[in-house]
Structure formats: C-alpha cells, structure tokens
C-alpha cells in the first residue's frame, strides 16, 4: 500500500460488508434486485439483507413464497432477460428441492446456448455448522456446487473479502454462488470469532475470482482452507508457532475458479500440504487441492494431510457434531503428523 493511500480503520462484520456491496450495486443499477425467504421485513435470517428493505422497498427486496424451484428459476429467467437478480437460498441444504433450476438451467444455459445467452445472477446461501442444527441445516456443500460445471463459487471468510467478492459477483455476467458461513456473519445470537470482522473501505472495490489470499505467511507447512476454517487454521497456526512450526494459511476465497498457482507456490516453498474443509471428505475440495499439487508439484511435496468432515450426515448432539467437524486441534494434529 502506498503512503498516499488512506488507512482504513472502520471495521465491519461480515454481514455488513456483504450488505454494503449489495446496497451500492442496487443504487448504481436499477436492474439489481434481491429475492428470498424472509429477506425483507426480517432482514435475512442470517442478516444477509439487514437494512436493505428500508432503502429499497418491497419491490426490490422481495419476500417470496417457499417455492425455491419457482423463485430460483425466476431469477435465472430474469437474468437471461438481462436483469441482475440476487436470489437467496436460506440454507444451502435446501438446494435439493430446486436443484434442477440451479444446475440444469442456471449453470448450463450459457454453455448450451453456445454463449448466446448469459445468466448474470448471484445465488446467495448460508452454509455451515457449529450450532447443532443437524443434518439438514449444517452442511457447506462446497464441493457439490464446485463440482457441477457452470457456476462460479465464492466463499468469503472476512468482511473485507465479503464486500469485494460481492461487488465482483453482482457485476459478473455469469452465475455466481455466494456461500456465506453463518458463524462468520456477526449475528447477535450466533457470536462470530474475532477474525471475520475487519477494516472495510467505504468505497466500492472488487476482488477478482480465482485470487486466493495468503492470510498468514509461513515457511514450514501450507494450510489450504476456506470459510470458517480459515479462522480455525489461523488459531492452529498461532498455537503451532509456539512449538516452532511456521504455518502458511491460504484462504481459497473462490472454489471456481480455483487459484491453483497460489497453492502450488506455497507448497513449493514449504514442501508440506494440509487441506482443511468443512465439507465431506470424499470427492471434494480436499481431494481437488491435493490432486492439484500432485499433478503439478509432486516433486516438492514431502507430506500431505487432509482434515474434513467424515462421510456421514452431520449429527445433532454437541459431542457428535464436535467429533465430526474439524476443530483447530484437529488441524494442529494433522500438521504435526506431517513434521
């Protein structure tokens, strides 16, 4: 940062960062609107639209019936007409009732039309566990959305990233799935860890997709992760530093596109890879990251570990959820196994 630049001190919660970008884009472009369940008067169950109704009214901050197939599909249709809808799926787990509109329409129409149609919409959705909401309300499903081609997949971990990624998401001409972790939003009744609340400039700015962010530099081990687990990995790194292990933490920020170069550069430096994911272990993010490294930098790789949800539905009782969800201690243990 050059000395002429202003130092930003104002800190926002992640939800405020996200909402500020949406409000900015809505002011700039009448064709941007937001649809979802409980997004208007309630302000989003997870504060994703808090305050927007007051400024933009019910025509542009639209509560919808519990009809995900209809309103997500309607967002696809409006986007194909050239508008810029943002449609919210309250919990990502609810994708099941509307998956056809998401993956057979939203994700495929650009390609199937030979590029003659585009779908400039954002699908926002709440992800993640940590509060015992059990198997139908706690998943991240990062790998599911990243696996099916045609969607750009964004997973912010801080307020700064949330705002810049949202600006980019709304301006992008392609469908973007914007997955915000409930535990990071800064909701009063679900206290966030310290990390996601960051300084955020009042001006608009974009963060390009496919640019991972090194949240902590280190020489001994590369921890690649996203979402909530960026913060758990940073906690683990602090603790490992006391044992003389210097961990680098790479926040992917987007899964599609995936910034493979930043991962490879880090592993070429440290020689050791630990991938941490709140999604299921098999056929997912951890496997993709490890394969990226073995494809391109096998000679540099001395040790590798994955830390992820086991391949089971997420259980309800606290000891069971804690057992299955990767904790900072699990990350530390995985790093120690590589040393």
């Amino acid at each position: 940062m050059s000395e002429q630049q202003e130092v930003v001190e104002r800190e926002l919660t992640m939800s405020r960062g996200m909402v500020e970008a949406i409000a900015h884009e809505m002011r700039a472009n009448d064709e941007v609107f937001y649809m979802g369940e409980d997004v208007a008067d309630y302000g989003g169950i997870f504060d994703s639209t808090e305050g927007l109704l007051d400024e933009f009214g019910h025509d542009r901050i639209m509560d919808v019936p519990i009809s995900e197939t209809a309103y997500l599909g309607a967002a696809v249709g409006a986007a194909q007409e050239g508008m810029r809808p943002i449609a919210e799926l309250m919990f990502v787990d609810f994708f099941g009732v509307a998956m056809d509109q998401i993956y057979n329409q939203m994700a495929k129409n650009t390609y199937m039309s030979g590029g003659s149609v585009s779908v400039p919409m954002v699908l926002t959705t709440a992800v993640g566990g940590t509060y015992n909401d059990a198997a139908q309300h706690s998943q991240t499903l990062y790998g599911t959305f990243a696996h099916l081609p045609g969607m750009k997949v964004v997973v912010p971990s801080t307020a700064y990233d949330a705002k810049g990624l949202m600006h980019n998401a709304i301006r992008d001409d392609d469908p973007v799935v914007y997955m915000f972790h409930k535990r990071l939003m800064g909701i009063g009744w679900m206290p966030a860890p310290d990390g996601p609340k960051t300084p955020v400039p009042e001006t608009d700015y974009t963060i390009p997709f496919g640019s991972a962010d090194v949240k902590r530099e280190g020489a001994d081990v590369t921890i690649v992760t996203l979402g909530l687990h960026v913060h758990r990995a940073l906690d683990a790194a602090d603790s490992l530093a006391e044992d003389g292990i210097d961990a680098e933490v790479v926040d992917l920020r987007t899964l599609v596109p995936l910034d493979r170069e930043t991962i490879l550069e880090s592993v070429r430096k440290t020689g050791t890879l630990v991938v941490v994911d709140e999604d299921y272990r098999s056929y997912g993010v951890t496997g993709e990251v490890v394969a990226t490294v073995t494809d391109e930098a096998l000679a540099h790789l001395d040790a590798v570990e994955r830390v992820a949800m086991p391949d089971i539905p997420i259980p309800y009782a606290r000891p069971l959820e804690t057992e299955t969800q990767p904790q900072a201690a699990d990350i530390e243990a995985a790093v120690e196994r590589t040393q």
Binding site: E37, D38, A40, D41, Y42, I45, D63, V64, P65, I66, S67, E68, T69, A70, D93, F94, G96, V97, T130, Y131, N132, D133, A134, A135, Q136, H137, G188, W189, M190, P191, P310, D311, I312, P313, P315, Y316, A317, R318, P319, L320, E321, T322, E323, T324
Partner: protein
C-alpha cells in the same frame, strides 16, 4: 357426538403438548441469557415450538392407530405426542442424549419413532412424498392403514406438496394431507405469499375433497378428520385438510418477531383451543376435579420425561461414525460364490 372418553384423551394430549412446549422453552433458554446464543444452553440447535397448534394434532391423530403413518415438519412435538411417540426418548433426543430416539443424531427436527410410524423432516413440504409412499405401501399390501402428512400453510407453495397431491390422487392413495395454518411462514404473512385464503382449495385441482376447519377447535378437527381418515381407510382416496391454528411463540426460539404486529401476537394467545375443549368437557358434565386430574397427570408426565432425559448421558463421540448403513458397505454379499464362470481364467 364425540365420546367423552375421546374428548378426555384429546384434552390430555393437548395439555401434555402445551406444557411440553412451555417447559422446553424454559429449558432451552436456560444458559442463553442474558444474550441469546444459539449454541449455548442445555438444548442444542434450533427449536421450533408448536404451542397453539394442538387441536390440529389431536383432532386428526385421535383417529389413527400405531400402524398408521404420520410425517411432520420442523415443528413436530405436538403431532408426535398425539401420535404416541415415546415421550421420554423424544425428550432425550431433543436434549441430544444417547438414549434419545435417534441416539442424538437427529435432533428435534428429525425425530423417528418406527414403533408408531412417526417421522419428521426439517425441509418444507418434504414429508408429503414419504406419506404418499406409506399410503402406497398400504395399498400394495392390501392393508387398511393410512398415512397423514402434516405441513404448514407456508408449505403449500412448494413443489413437493403439489406433486404429492397429484400422485396420491391419481393412485387413490390412503393419505390425508393436513395443513396447519398458523398464518405465518417465519416472517411472511400468508397473504403476501399465497393468493388464496383457504389452502384446502388447492384440492380442487387434483380432484380430491378439500376441507377447511376455520376455527381452532379440537372437536371440529376431530369431526372433519373422521371423514378424511375414514375415506382413506375405506380406500376412497386422499383428502386435503386445512386447520386454522395459532402460533403463540416465535418461529424458532430466539425469533424476535419484530415483523409481527403486537395485536396479532396477543390474538394468538387469546384464542385457545385448550380452553375451548375444557369448556366442552364441562358442558358435557365432566367434573372440575377430573379435568384437574387429567391436567396434573399430563404435567407430571412431561416433568418426568424432562427429568429422565436430562439424566441420560451424552453420546460417545465415536458413535458419530455408526449407523451410516443398515448393511455393511459391501452389501449382503458375505459368502464365496458356489459356481465357476465359463471361460474364467482363475
């Protein structure tokens, strides 16, 4: 006229369910004060309570047997109680304990009690297709059991609901779809998301009877359900019912309900189907002491269930990895084949 013994059974289930929800509310909020933190306190996760919706549960389930199937949505306790789900083990499940109905894996939105064919799901309207499936099984097996799917009025705009109505109608399945209309889908009042006041009108498009009970009254529900369940049991096909109920609490515990006018919240507590049934009992000559005894016994049963549940151990973390499949991952194949394939080279 409904037999007094049946009225007393319904009354017992209603006061059980009401007391249960009020006590769970207290237990849930313990440890979440002064600042509400969803991940604190003795009961994990979200909690959707059904105080004010008891008439819909008891009026229908009074006609059901253990072999009849019920699916409920995310707000399931009153229906579970009316269906005869094991109260102690249900409570242990809600507290996330090892001896819970689902060994602590399901939680309050995902309760399963196969002994009385009860299940619930946290995904809106998604109990409708499995209820149709239970009806299909009964039909194929030539049994006279029936299935009931409970859903909220917010669920009647969901695809799974429409498809299930059609599937049940076209196959004449023994299913009753019961819409509990509490006027609110979280913060969305019915009129803002559905263009009919009476959800039972949806039935017309599927050539099945649609009936609305527009006052929150267990006896009226009982009478309407008698025809609907009877029609299903007699293999005359499905019925869609809508019952006006009242949401006396927030959508979930911790819901500030700032979107909801105060007079609507007050009205929901003033129209009480339990008081109404109690008045009916008195009018039929049931003594005050009898009513008090029923109520006391119900409250004692709830206290006992909560005490028992809180005494149960939490599950061993390792059990998280159990119950993934009914059979081993390899399937049922555990023997060497007793044949050789022609041309096999080994």
């Amino acid at each position: 006229m409904v037999a007094i013994s049946e009225l007393q059974e319904m009354y017992t289930d209603m006061v059980t369910a009401r007391h249960y929800e009020e006590r769970l509310q207290e237990e849930y909020l313990e440890g979440k004060q002064p600042a509400f933190d969803i991940s604190a306190g003795p009961i994990p996760g979200e909690l959707h309570l059904a105080a004010g919706q008891e008439a819909a549960a008891v009026g229908v389930c009074q006609h059901l047997r253990d072999d009849d199937t019920v699916t409920a949505p995310h707000r399931p306790h009153h229906v579970a109680i009316a269906k005869g789900v094991d109260l102690k083990r249900m409570t242990a499940e809600i507290f996330g304990r090892e001896s819970g109905l689902c060994r602590g894996k399901g939680g309050h939105m995902h309760l399963f009690d196969p002994d009385v064919n009860f299940a619930c799901s946290g995904i809106i309207a998604e109990g409708c297709p499995p209820a149709a499936g239970a009806g299909l099984a009964a039909q194929k097996r030539n049994s006279d059991s029936v299935a009931v799917a409970y859903l909220g009025e917010g669920a009647i705009d969901q695809g799974g609901f429409f498809e299930s109505l059609n599937f049940a109608a076209v196959h004449d399945l023994p299913v009753v779809f019961v819409i509990e209309d509490n006027d609110w889908a979280i913060s969305m009042p019915k009129e803002r998301v559905t263009d009919v006041d009476d959800g039972s009108q949806r039935a017309a498009g599927f050539d099945m009877p649609g009936v609305r009970v527009d006052h929150d009254d267990a006896v009226a529900v009982y009478e309407a359900a008698e025809r609907a369940v009877g029609r299903a049991r007699d293999r005359n096909g499905p019925t869609l019912m809508e019952i006006q109920v009242h949401r006396r609490m927030g959508h979930f515990m911790g819901d500030p309900q700032t979107y909801r006018p105060e007079d609507d919240q007050t009205a929901a507590t003033e129209r009480d189907s339990i008081d109404r049934l109690e008045a009916d009992l008195r009018a039929r000559g049931v003594e005050d002491t009898t009513i008090k005894n029923l109520r006391d016994a119900a409250e004692d049963r709830v206290e006992e269930a909560i005490e028992w549940a809180k005494d149960q151990p939490e599950p061993d973390p390792e059990t998280a990895h159990e119950d993934m499949f009914a059979n081993p991952p390899s399937g049922v194949t555990d023997t060497d084949p007793e044949f050789d394939l022609m041309g096999g080279d080994d």
